[in-house]
């Protein structure tokens, strides 16, 4: 075990690394907004750019129908709901764009309790806000994280210390963040979007 937490000179690179990762994660996170009643529509959740050709994953409870997504560069695009699975709380959206900054997807099955995780989303309307915490428990259907979330984080990425997306934040249970594991999300994408 190194003394990485106790020696002061390590704090600065640590903070710099966390900030760099936050910026990187913000690029692959989109705001999901309801569509229709004018420009004053508030963000209802977040999403993760899964593929550069416009595939965005979010929670089923965030995307009930076609929505508007706002990219990190400020572009607002209409998004089509192409698949939705309320049981796993996953939904797939497609926007008409290419060359988007897609997230690097990690393996949720390899997560260890105690690993650092970061979440980006739009909690309480704060756009692309970051929370940091650690893995509290790992189950087959859910990752529990000791991490502060708020409404608006839903559908946003949960990333490991390398910045790889290991889950989609879905719920707050007893103060704990609960995320859909990336393995489940990948299975969902394979099943729903074959061909």
């Amino acid at each position: 075990m190194s003394a990485v937490l106790t020696a002061e000179p390590t704090v600065e690179p640590l903070a710099a690394a966390a900030a760099a990762m936050a910026a990187e994660l913000a690029r692959v996170t989109v705001e999901v907004r309801g569509r229709g009643r004018g420009a004053g529509e508030a963000a209802v959740g977040a999403g993760v750019i899964w593929h550069p050709d416009g595939l965005i994953l979010t929670n089923a409870h965030v995307a009930h129908r076609d929505v508007t997504v706002v990219l990190a560069d400020g572009r607002a695009c209409g998004a089509r709901l192409v698949a939705r699975d309320p049981r796993r709380d996953l939904a797939a959206l497609v926007v008409d764009a290419t060359g988007l900054p897609a997230a690097e997807i990690g393996d949720s099955g390899a997560l260890r309790v105690g690993e650092l995780v970061l979440a980006v989303g739009n909690p309480l309307g704060l756009v692309r806000a970051l929370s940091a915490g650690l893995v509290h428990a790992v189950g087959p259907r859910a990752i529990h994280a000791d991490l502060r979330l708020a409404p608006g984080n839903s559908g946003g990425p949960l990333a490991d210390a390398r910045g790889r997306v290991v889950g989609l934040n879905a719920m707050i249970v007893g103060g704990l963040a609960v995320a859909v594991p990336s393995r489940e999300a990948q299975r969902f994408v394979r099943e729903q979007l074959r061909g």
Binding site: V4, V113, G114, E115, L134, D146, A161, G174
Partner: protein, 301 residues
């Protein structure tokens, strides 16, 4: 990003190295830290409101205090228990030094599973006394979430060493850890004697305010005292001749305005020694010499 990754790996490594054991019979399964073939478990969450079910409140300067009515001079129990576990084949916890902790240090709280919670040391303070009268060597306040079942689990520093035992049973709103120094001290005593010895007078008392003219006339220290509302038959105070209705105003010259003042005078080292109690009886000063006893163990006769 390497710094973050190595921090993350260190944290996960610390969790795996300090996986707490679990006591199945507990109502809320609480984890425990073990040292040799011994397990230690905090029992605060089983009796969060004290032996008498009384009300407790916090008082000025953050010192937790027990509100009226009386606690007896019998000093209530500490919140640790030692369990002996047969055939435990895991390696004992490496103990750290809680004296080296600084505010801002990163720490992990662990639960059975393992499950983990992460935060920082939010405040450190000097020696303090819990509302149940036990003396804790250092105040360790945590900025992290203690999830249900985390009480009694280890507080682990960045190097994976156990520096305390987490408890949510000693203070209502803040998360605290019992420092390992205290835990080691209590454990040694429990192992040596089978129980923690506590000084005992055998009286129940309640704070009262003393009228100014009386204080002036008798030259009493302090502005309050403790009225004796219960005298344990054949207890140390009864044997010394203390009576129901006496008002204790000082012990060995130190004013006793509240029960904490009495507890502060009655460390375990006073057992067998004599204290001089200054009491107010029938409007006059009286001195009573009491030989401090040891608190009888609950259930033992």
């Amino acid at each position: 990003m390497e710094a973050l990754l190595s921090l993350s790996n260190d944290l996960a490594g610390a969790v795996e190295a300090r996986r707490p054991i679990h006591r199945g019979r507990a109502r809320a399964p609480a984890p425990a830290v073990h040292r040799d073939p011994l397990a230690r478990r905090h029992r605060g969450h089983r009796r969060p409101h004290g032996p008498d079910g009384g009300r407790h409140h916090r008082r000025g300067r953050g010192r937790p205090a027990r509100g009226p009515p009386p606690s007896s001079a019998a000093i209530p129990a500490r919140t640790s228990r030692v369990l002996r576990v047969a055939d435990l084949d895991t390696a004992p916890a490496a103990l750290g030094d809680d004296g080296a902790l600084r505010v801002g240090h990163m720490v992990l709280a662990l639960g059975y599973g393992p499950r983990a919670s992460w935060g920082v040391i939010s405040a450190l303070g000097p020696r303090w006394r819990t509302w149940r009268g036990a003396e804790i060597d250092r105040l360790v306040r945590l900025d992290l979430v203690l999830y249900p079942g985390f009480s009694g689990g280890p507080l682990v520093d960045a190097a994976g060493r156990v520096v305390g035992l987490n408890t949510s049973g000693l203070a209502r709103e803040s998360r605290l850890a019992l420092p390992v120094t205290t835990v080691a001290r209590v454990t040694d005593e429990l192992l040596r004697k089978g129980h923690v010895a506590r000084a005992y007078l055998g009286i129940g008392m309640q704070p009262v305010r003393l009228p100014e003219p009386l204080r002036a006339a008798l030259g009493l220290p302090g502005d309050g005292g403790l009225i004796v509302v219960m005298v344990e038959p054949d207890g140390p105070a009864a044997r010394a001749g203390l009576l129901l209705g006496d008002v204790l105003v000082a012990l060995d010259g130190a004013p006793t305005g509240d029960l904490e003042d009495v507890q502060a005078q009655l460390g375990a080292e006073r057992i067998g020694t004599t204290v001089t109690a200054l009491v107010l009886r029938a409007g006059a000063r009286t001195e009573v010499r009491i030989t401090v006893g040891e608190r009888p163990r609950r259930g033992a006769s």
